[in-house]
């Protein structure tokens, strides 16, 4: 493992050094705009994922507040039907694809290489490509908002077909404008990003583990990331196919879902949920991983039942592929199919329950230290449990016939995705913030934000159970005052404002801490995994010496076996120095350029029937040449990317871990 590929090791067949071709010199800036745009450092990429994700999390939250404001009183005219439909479509799409998934990707990037004792991910440039492709997808999904200010763009606003885009509402007959095409291609682009990133993480976790880090010593977070990555590469092709079919129906007259041609709209639902249900676990498994890291640290005890927690995570991944039709209990699947999916859905409650039991087992007999991350983690267990119970209620298919598409479902999945995923993410941000920024978030303000969020969240979503049981359907921009929904909606909206205040407090405190927070050492929480053994913030090369892992909680073991660890590390450092120093990957422009080409191609493709107009002048009769140019640029970038070669440079450290590489000699 200490062995690294140096530039000279990159050989052509026959053993001669491979010829590389560099169109322009490889970027070397570590800071500044170029440093970030061309970075292949997993920590920088992780932070960019995180930054963008938090931005979209706040945008999605703003959309939610507008939705709640519209529903504060019956027959409200705050926003109209069309804008409301765009808002709930984009709220769902944003929170899932542009907030929770990239936040998880941020933590995958930040933590996986360090937790497995590696210096970067397996394919650093591919990692940058994932990020920039994700950014391209995010831009395409949201570009429609701008057409509210420039109506001539022809987007018809942001997408308004629901985050689930049920056919045939997506057909050209019902949504002729470009917003639906942008939604289709935006999701497709995001899917590409996720598949590429997942392959990278799978290889990283399996191949780049430090010596002694067997799979059953892997931190639970890495296990959950591994399961999630497999879910992504297996689930995304289903929606990729479905999205291609919609695109073909819209532009090439195929009849996959086109009713007049005998198409089957129900097919979309199956394809969508074959992706969509594993997606739920894609969102929630990483948060289960954070919680499984945070609870042991603050209980000062190892995770209870590690193998069972890991196994149940994998079991959830497997069974998660067999329950998709519980989103379709009202589509008339027939009794046998309904029964099978109902029972499978109940079955998935078992491994989920097992995780909760083991988290409680972790607390049992420990010394529970109630710091802010622990508050969020405990809040997660309570709220996720609530969401789980309403999930069990949905598995009873006939009862679900009343709840499907009602506010009861809205309550259920917000308990899972805010009370569950988001609470765990807020716990994780708070927990790992000192590691990556070297400053501790003030406890008082952290806990205050927790309580505001906790109270606001429950005030918003608990009444929604009752709204749903009282017959209020989802995705409705207005309701009448005689339906008995006035009080519940008013309460929910007030709760949403409170939740907004809590989220604002949370991030305001983080920004304050970033600039002014109390500095902290390597291991402020007395934690158990490898990332806490290195400086905060971690150096570019992560580890001055590749660690040897002897136990499940690797760093906990190191802390109790200091002499042995010091001796091993000295040996590893010597071996690496003898080999030429620490090998690091070179930066590159091509991931960014390739993603740009992809975006230009995808953005212009659905506009191939429309002339290209700029400031009132018609430049081209079709967007097709631009689309082809974008694809050409993508192919060219990938070609030059491969000619450029992996590159790399060495860093030399002294015995204390200080960088002794002569200035300017990194390359």
């Amino acid at each position: 493992m200490a062995h690294a590929i140096a530039k000279s090791d990159y050989t052509a067949p026959g053993g001669a050094p491979a010829k590389t071709f560099e169109l322009f010199p490889r970027p070397t800036a570590k800071t500044g705009l170029v440093g970030w745009l061309t970075s292949v450092d997993h920590k920088k990429i992780g932070m960019m994922y995180g930054g963008f994700a938090i931005l979209f999390f706040l945008i999605g939250g703003l959309e939610a507040l507008m939705i709640r404001t519209q529903l504060i009183v019956p027959n409200n005219r705050f926003i109209g039907a069309q804008l409301y439909n765009e808002l709930f479509t984009m709220h769902g799409t944003t929170m899932i694809f542009l907030a929770v998934m990239p936040l998880n990707a941020a933590f995958f990037n930040l933590l996986i290489p360090i937790q497995v004792g590696a210096r970067d991910v397996a394919f650093p440039r591919l990692n940058a490509f994932s990020l920039w492709v994700w950014v391209a997808g995010a831009i395409m999904l949201n570009v429609g908002w701008l057409s509210h200010f420039v109506p001539s763009w022809g987007f018809g606003g942001a997408p308004d077909i629901g985050w689930f885009g049920y056919a045939p509402l997506t057909s050209k007959l019902f949504t002729p404008d470009l917003s639906t095409d942008m939604w289709v291609l935006g999701l497709q682009t995001l899917g590409l990003s996720s598949i590429v990133a997942s392959l990278n993480f799978i290889v990283t976790i399996i191949n780049m583990r430090a010596p002694g880090l067997t799979m059953m010593r892997l931190p639970v977070f890495c296990w959950m990331a591994l399961v999630t990555s497999f879910l992504l590469i297996l689930a995304l092709p289903a929606i990729a196919i479905a999205l291609v079919e919609v695109l073909f129906d819209r532009h090439f007259g195929t009849n996959f879902f086109e009713v007049s041609g005998g198409g089957q709209p129900i097919l979309w639902q199956h394809l969508f949920w074959v992706f969509g249900h594993p997606e739920v676990y894609i969102l929630i498994l990483p948060p289960m991983g954070y919680v499984s890291e945070i609870l042991p640290t603050f209980s000062r005890k190892p995770l209870f039942g590690y193998p069972i927690v890991v196994f149940s995570g994998a079991a959830i991944g497997f069974i998660g592929f067999g329950v998709w039709s519980h989103h379709m209990f009202t589509t008339g699947m027939g009794n046998v199919a309904t029964a099978a999916f109902a029972v499978a859905t109940m079955a998935i409650a078992v491994p989920t329950g097992v995780k909760i039991f083991n988290w409680i087992g972790t607390l049992w007999g420990g010394h529970i230290v109630t710091r802010t991350p622990m508050m969020f983690a405990l809040g997660f267990i309570w709220m996720f449990m609530m969401g789980g119970f309403s999930g069990i209620m949905h598995s009873a298919a006939p009862a679900d016939a009343q709840q499907q598409d009602s506010y009861f479902v809205v309550a259920h999945f917000h308990y899972v995705l805010i009370g569950g995923a988001t609470f765990a993410l807020l716990a994780a941000i708070h927990y790992w913030f000192p590691k990556f920024f070297g400053r501790l978030v003030p406890e008082f303000w952290g806990k205050l934000s927790f309580w505001i969020i906790f109270v606001g969240f429950n005030t918003t979503f608990f009444p929604m159970h009752f709204l749903g049981l009282n017959g209020m359907p989802r995705r409705t921009w207005t309701y009448d005052s005689n339906m008995g929904w006035n009080e519940g909606n008013f309460l929910a909206t007030m709760g949403a404002y409170l939740l907004g205040v809590g989220i604002f407090t949370y991030f305001a405190v983080l920004i304050y801490t970033f600039f002014k927070g109390e500095k902290c050492g390597n291991d402020p929480w007395d934690a158990r995994t490898l990332e806490w053994s290195i400086p905060s913030p971690p150096p570019e090369f992560n580890f001055k010496a590749v660690p040897t892992v002897h136990a499940r909680d690797a760093f906990w073991y190191e802390k109790t076996h200091r002499e042995e660890t010091a001796k091993e590390q000295a040996e590893h450092m010597q071996a690496e120095a003898a080999h030429g120093g620490i090998h690091m990957p070179d930066q590159s422009w091509y991931p960014l350029l390739a993603a740009f080409g992809l975006m230009v191609g995808a953005y212009n493709f659905p506009q191939m029937d429309a002339p290209l107009v700029l400031f009132g002048n018609t430049l081209l009769s079709s967007h097709l040449p631009l689309s082809l140019a974008g694809v050409g640029f993508l192919v060219l970038s990938c070609y030059l990317w491969s000619l450029e070669g992996p590159g790399g440079y060495h860093i030399h450290l002294d015995a204390d871990g200080r960088d002794t590489t002569p200035r300017g000699d990194h390359y």
Partner: protein, 443 residues
Amino acid sequence: MTRTRPVQRKIFLFLVATLGVITLALFRVELAEAFSLSGPQSTMVSAGPVAKAQWDLFMVTVYVTTFIFIVVGSVLAYAQIKFRAKSEAEERAVPPQQQGHGNPFIEIGLIASSVFLLVLIAIPTLRDIWYTHDVPEAERANAMDITATGYQWWFKFEYPGDMVKLPTGGEAPLVTGNELVVPAGVPVRIHLRTIDVIHSFWVPKLAGKVDMIPNRPNFLWLKADKPGYFYGQCAEYCGESHAIMRFRVIALSPSEYVRWLDNQKNGARTATAATVAAAQQATKVEFASFTNTSPRSSLSASGEMETDPFGAWRKKQQVPAHEEPKLIAEGHQLFSDKTCMNCHTIRGHASKTGTPYGGITAPDLTHVGARSTIAAGVLENTPERMSQWLNDPEYFKPGNKMVHGIGGMAGYFKPDEHGNPVRNINLNNREINALVAYLQSLK
């Protein structure tokens, strides 16, 4: 590690308590309302065997999960309190050397009990999947079939068992729009179709929803135990005005149902001076809501409609006290002049030139005057509401086809050569009044 100091913790508790008290004070009166399940679309207040089975099954899941919540929640709460480090010293204390990694017997025991509890839910679930799917065998001979079709954004109901004669000759099933009338105590199988996108048929008090999916014949069954007036609503997002794609189900006693059916089978009523005078002899009904001129921003119905919608529906079956035959005749003519007939049917009526009012892309209006609501359950069917609706349909139902046109037929607007909408139908106040008088006369 920094602990929060006790002072801070007190500030904390104070803040949380204050927040709670403010919240409670603000909503004390209404809090109970927020958690009551007494609305017209309540799934708890079931009025038929299907909805009842669904609610009872839901309660089984509530009992089981509440039991689990109490057990697991107590253990979790106990662990959180009992094992909390109470002082800085305790936090820094060396953790127990013998750190437990789990216990297979506890794990297996917990898995087994979870499975057992889920089986408790699974058994009634399986039973009810079969029960709620179709009319029970024993009652099947007695069952009635109705076809419901979803349109953006209204419902059409057809009675294949009750044919009516068409003015053009031939027979077709009786058609109504947005208000489904069924006999109480009779199982009804509703065949679900759609003309455009996916809709979902949901009358919470009678039965859970089943989707109306293109190229896929679905059905559901329901039975109203007693006569009553029930609220329903589309439950699958179907485009711009999904929120106000509403309908009603009215269950009548068998004898009242037959009376209603007989009247429906007749062609549209023609109000001439003679028929109006005859009707005045028979009934003198004054509708409270007719005098209600609430601003249009408040869509809610009159008090009468809210407290007793069934009674209000019954009153709508009768001819009102004041009718102006001249105005009605004018409205009759306008119905063809303004091209309403292109989309709407009024069975038995025709234009001056003899073209029957037989459009099929919009709700059948043959007996619209006898309905309690218009515009797919959005507005109470009063002359005021109807004239507001005709004056500005876009306001009440954004995107609706009466404004934007459908299937190449123009609505209030039609596209010019650049695709921009230009006004197509203009209605002045006099014309709206005439149309309202005409439509209200169609009992």
